[in-house]
């Protein structure tokens, strides 16, 4: 068999179920590759090799005994280091929590373990999911496998690097303003920020509770669907958890997408936060491909991107400052500069600002819901530019430039980033597909159809190919 670390979850699951691929050998291959590459990539805060291999041996024995649990059984999965893991450090990539060892797993981690996945360890993040890329925090920042001089984006940065390089087959990220979709876009992955409330946040270090979402990051849309199946569901431990029926997330995989109506939010990426010409050209080509698959593509208009950004930034900064107020007052020196200063911005908003953002948030959600009545999916770019050099990311980018991902944290709608080609310098480009609340299967079906109609998924980072 060729390099098993580059199998998709769907491919590996079929082989594992048929006992043609050993979970132990797969885990060993991922760990060996991590040892070969991670001194450069810095994807991990902590590789938990012994725990991973023990889980892989358990999975192998269970499957041999006829107890295959489903597509995640025996699959190596990494966790952003803000997911609590019982008995293993969860640091938020911060010196403040360098020795913190939780007693319990996050609910989503419990679900992954119950599905038989092999948890390989804790992946790098921006400090507390906001401060990065930073060299002055617990360990160095993750680097982009497509070009290690460039950032992965953040804050689920180690997750982006690890999946692209095949250190794991899937990873967990979180997304408060784009932290799943940014690294997915810049590393060439499929990554979904699900509908708010669909995945439990219990046991995940918060950045901003009313904007935080957990979600999977994988090589393909189909793999995201498979992970969602194991992860979704009501959790009484999360006060914002939705009580909704859980569908078959892979129901639309491989199905025709003919007749789907796609609304392109052209003003978002052409004028509100203009993407580079290369990204715009790739998006037009993607629109042409989707049209060729039978989708009906129309232009739509939403409120200005800056309105969504104002709401998102005010809420995120205010909630984050409330969480970190005491430690920022008492020991600001323990934070890295980016995390410390980005969170400190929240000190300058007032209570009335926070409530006004709540009013505006409801108004924006209602306006987007009106437009969503006319289409099945909204579309814009995943990132307006390919990955920047790792030392050239502005500290206050998020405050100064309206984010193309934040609108869907503000509205809570599900949003999937799908790879749509490469820049002239070989860095991934990405589109963003947005669905109606709890309509994730439509997004997975559309992303899958596009991935199968284009060659992008056949390419992997050169540094991660077998030596």
């Amino acid at each position: 068999m060729s390099d098993p670390t580059f199998l998709t979850i769907a491919e590996a699951a079929k082989l594992i179920k048929a006992r043609k691929l050993s979970p132990v050998e797969l885990a060993q291959a991922c760990i060996a590759k991590t040892k070969r590459l991670d001194n450069v990539l810095c994807a991990y805060v902590e590789l938990t090799e012994d725990i991973a291999l023990a889980a892989a041996r358990t999975a192998e024995a269970e499957i041999a005994a006829g107890g295959w649990k489903g597509p995640l059984h025996g699959i190596p999965i990494g966790l952003k280091d803000i997911y609590d893991t019982a008995g293993t450090r969860t640091t938020g990539h911060s010196r403040l929590l360098a020795t913190r060892v939780p007693d319990e797993d996050a609910t989503t981690v419990t679900k992954l373990r119950q599905a038989g996945s092999v948890i390989t360890g804790k992946l790098g993040t921006f400090e507390f999911a906001i401060g990065g890329p930073s060299f002055d925090i617990l360990t160095p920042p993750a680097r982009n496998p497509w070009n290690p001089d460039h950032t992965t984006g953040g804050s689920s940065s180690g997750s982006g690097a690890a999946v692209a390089a095949g250190l794991v087959l899937g990873a967990m990220g979180t997304d408060t303003g784009g932290s799943i979709r940014g690294p997915s876009a810049l590393c060439g992955l499929a990554g979904i920020k699900p509908t708010y409330g669909l995945l439990s946040r219990k046991g995940i270090l918060p950045l901003s509770q009313s904007l935080d979402h957990a979600g999977p990051m994988c090589w393909t849309s189909e793999d995201c669907a498979l992970m969602m199946q194991a992860l979704a569901g009501h959790d009484p431990g999360d006060p914002a958890s939705a009580r909704v029926p859980i569908p078959d997330y892979a129901a639309e995989i491989g199905k025709p997408v003919q007749g789907l109506r796609i609304g392109v939010i052209r003003h978002f990426h052409e004028t509100d936060n203009p993407a580079t010409p290369e990204v715009l050209a790739a998006l037009e080509e993607a629109i042409r491909v989707l049209g060729g698959l039978g989708c009906e593509v129309v232009d739509v208009t939403l409120p200005p991107l800056a309105d969504f950004a104002a709401v998102g930034v005010t809420i995120m900064a205010s909630e984050a400052f409330a969480i970190h107020e005491k430690t920022l007052q008492a020991s600001p020196e323990l934070y890295g500069e980016f995390g410390r200063d980005r969170i400190t911005m929240g000190a300058f908003f007032t209570a009335a600002d926070y409530v006004a953002a709540g009013y505006k948030r409801r108004e924006l959600a209602a306006k987007v819901a009106e437009v969503m009545k006319t289409v099945d999916v909204l579309m814009t770019v995943g990132s307006p530019f390919p990955a920047q050099p790792i030392d050239a990311v502005p500290k206050y980018l998020f405050f100064r430039t309206p984010s193309l991902t934040m609108p869907f944290n503000v509205t809570g709608l599900p949003a999937l980033c799908v790879a749509m080609g490469f820049s002239s310098t070989g860095l991934p480009l990405s589109m963003q597909l947005v669905g109606k609340a709890f309509a994730e299967p439509v997004l997975f079906g559309l992303g899958d159809a596009y991935e199968k109609a284009t060659p992008w998924k056949s390419r992997r980072p050169a540094m991660a190919l077998a030596a």
Binding site: P239, V311, T344, F348, Y359, K360, R361, R362
Partner: protein
């Protein structure tokens, strides 16, 4: 838009929030404060007394 905030007034806000800033960080945040005001202004638009913020108190949901 209100008048530009004076450094003295901004220093009072910083102190009230319990923050201790180096002179360089003070200048950095002082320079950013107009951006906070721009964001703040964008959130205000006419709305009725019946408007509801997006977050609500949910008895029993904790």
């Amino acid at each position: 838009m209100p008048d530009p905030i004076t450094k003295e007034a901004f220093a009072a806000i910083v102190a009230d929030r319990g923050l201790t800033l180096s002179p360089e960080r003070f200048e950095e945040f002082y320079a950013l404060y107009p951006l906070v005001r721009e964001i703040r202004a964008r959130l205000r638009n006419p709305r009725g007394y019946d408007a509801e913020p997006a977050s609500i108190f949910s008895p029993g949901a904790f």
